[in-house]
């Protein structure tokens, strides 16, 4: 029996990410992890909901949030979700080059998002003196949004490590699950952002 997992178009299984036993385990493991992450973010959201009006004479959400920036960040992250779908599409077609290309675009979008977020935080801190210590609202805001930002940063590190490590060797059954689990994680970050822009920003501006 051969243990060569490299792919060629002839033997390409329909779902390379789940073709091996390890792949299937990784796939399930990540999904289950996301189930846990749901609770994690729910707790952060719940805390935020409980404290969002506790501004203790500090800035309130209506004073600081700006719509344009958040909209731009939203578009960046939503688009990056689509580009990672494209990457997976090409993975299933065994088109390594295109996959890498779309993953590269995903990474760039993620970096752009993170840059805007850093800019946003800096803006609040410098222009409004609104920090983690300003009020319970400040603590809850930075913790929730910061946790999400941390997830984006971790996702980017993961993605870049994957792309660099596999740049020369192409797609095979050993690394296909790794790409796929990354894409699931990335979508999940997007899902969290949808709730952040709704619950934190939009509900904070009405």
């Amino acid at each position: 029996m051969s243990h060569d997992h490299s792919l060629n178009p002839e033997t390409m299984p329909e779902e390379p990410e789940k073709a091996t036993h390890e792949g299937k385990n990784k796939f399930l493991g990540l999904w289950f992890f996301l189930g846990g992450e749901t609770v994690l973010f729910a707790c952060l959201f719940g805390t935020y909901l409980a404290l969002r009006n506790s501004t203790a004479d500090g800035p309130a959400s209506t004073d600081i949030f700006g719509m344009g920036l958040v909209f731009a960040m939203t578009l960046l992250l939503l688009t990056s979700s689509l580009t990672s779908v494209y990457a997976m599409h090409h993975m299933k077609n065994n088109d390594f080059k295109r996959m890498q290309l779309w993953l590269g675009i995903t990474a760039l979008l993620g970096i752009a998002f993170l840059t805007l977020e850093i800019y946003e935080f800096a803006h609040y801190i410098i222009d409004y003196e609104f920090t983690l210590r300003s009020s319970a609202f400040g603590s809850a805001f930075y913790t929730l949004v910061g946790f999400h930002g941390g997830h984006v940063a971790f996702g980017l590190a993961w993605l870049i490590a994957l792309m660099v490590r596999n740049a020369k060797r192409g797609l095979n059954l050993y690394n296909a699950p790794k790409f796929y689990t990354f894409s699931l994680y990335w979508h999940f970050i997007d899902v969290v952002w949808v709730f952040i822009f709704t619950v934190v920003y939009l509900m904070g501006m009405v």
Binding site: E10, V39, F45, A50, T74, S81, H89, D190, F195, V206
Partner: protein
Amino acid sequence: MTENIDKVNSFQKRKRKEEMKKQLISFALMIGFTVISFSLVATGLMDNMFIIPVLLILAIIQVAFQFYFFMHMKDKDHEMPALMIYGGLWVAILVFIALGVISWW
């Protein structure tokens, strides 16, 4: 033999194209919902009482698209993932109720 595989492959390719079309549509819808949400808030057309539930519903639909299409939860072999996500959501709802109540308690 190769011919056969080719056939299978081209069939799979076509299927994936279809799939991709669906993905694009859901993406367009997601962007659409986002724009609606933002413009609802920006224009202030709606009463605050109504706008929050509307925003939440739009968010939930969008997230369903992400899960079911982008993350393939609609596909077969996703029973366990779906079970765990719904389990997480159930606990999430409980958490929302518990901590949400504090703010008007």
